[in-house]
Symmetry: none
DNA sequence: TTGAATACCAGACATTTGTATGGTATCCAA
DNA sequence: TTGGATACCATACAAATGTCTGGTATTCAA
């Protein structure tokens, strides 16, 4: 028999292990849990897992392989890597996404992540909206947006973050900083990249 | 025999199906693919899958159940789930972390994620630091912090986000909003939970 | 016309994997 | 002491699942 551990200690680690695997999209089998914890019996792993289910820390679909899940209802969206872009020049969006200079960061999104990218913000034009220089905005590509949305658009060949406002027949790109002027593109001349769905600020590396 | 479909058409849909399931963290079995496409033979599903692997559209771990994977970008950053807390009462931090009411969010961190949690911000006291109500701050637990760090501390039995400033012999908790007053705890009476290492704002569900 | 390529089917087999039953050892409280 | 609770082990069985062999029908190009 293996060393007996204090009550609950191994179980906490099993839960951690499960969370990592499940979030990574690779639900483990009971025997993989056994392996990971060097149990000499499958049943040891199974007992921990079943107890975690009873405690509500996990759920499972009985009978199906790799059937343990993280409990909802707050459905935990999966992570997927999205490209982090630095500077984006006009027209070069596709290539920039293919080979991002900033690497990838993880985003949780309900739908597909194919049309999502991240962009590092330069400039202080959105400071009153709580978007500071160096912040990262996460953008879902879409050709249109609603009034009031924070969007990323190409202005003078560069990607900028602005507040979109619809006025009568035209759209305007408003900064959130009194020191900057609104941008009013000619009708039909707005190249919208997408809508900002998340803002992140990394304070420490 | 089922209807014969044009070349490549079914396969594209199989790939779509696989992507959805894999992104959702629930890799399907061959037979689940068979079911989804109403194949009358397992082999039909398997052939599509194997061809997708040959084409590089999928990868797989042979022999393991639910072994098909997305080919990834080469380096998938290490995500780990971190508990998202709502309101934190004094002393209840440990329990709140064990059983978070906000579920989990994914964080990429250099070190261990054991001592990291996330907290939903209420109130406008940090608005000038670009932290708005509803934002999520990600916190590394640590007993001390440097002057100038944004920290989470227990004030009147509740967790609050403030800017830490060290003045001579004492520390002060400064809001980033002129409408609020600094908090000056009695010396040695500061219960620091940790330091804010990241800020997030979710603009869209 | 022939043969290769594609899409699919049928049935079987072997491995992986979930599940069950019963056992040993340690701790702790009544 | 006694009994329960906890942690772990050994082994077996059945269901789920990956894999294989061989087959039919359709399309298309040589």
């Amino acid at each position: 028999m293996a060393a007996r551990t204090p009550p609950g200690q191994t179980r906490r680690q099993v839960l951690r292990f499960m969370r990592e695997r499940l979030i990574a999209g690779r639900p483990p089998t009971v025997r993989e849990v056994q392996e990971a914890f060097k149990f000499r019996s499958v049943q040891s792993a199974r007992e921990h897992l079943e107890i975690l289910v009873e405690e509500g820390k996990l759920t499972k679909e009985p009978g199906v392989s790799r059937g343990y899940r993280l409990p909802g209802p707050p459905l935990i969206p999966p992570f997927a890597p999205v490209p982090l872009l630095g500077q984006v020049q006009a027209g070069a969006l596709t290539e920039a996404i293919e080979d991002p200079d900033g690497g990838y960061i993880g985003v949780q999104s309900a739908g597909s992540n194919d049309d999502i990218f991240a962009l590092k913000v330069t400039g202080e034009s959105m400071i009153d909206a709580g978007i500071l220089p160096g912040d990262v905005v996460i953008v879902r590509c879409q050709p249109t947006a609603d009034s009031g949305d924070i969007v990323v658009a190409l202005v003078d060949g560069e990607a900028t973050v602005k507040l979109l406002k619809k006025r009568r027949q035209r759209v305007e790109l408003h900064p959130a900083n009194p020191a900057f002027e609104p941008i009013v593109p000619a009708p039909g001349d707005l190249s919208l990249l997408g809508k900002v769905i998340e803002v992140r600020r990394y304070l420490e590396k």
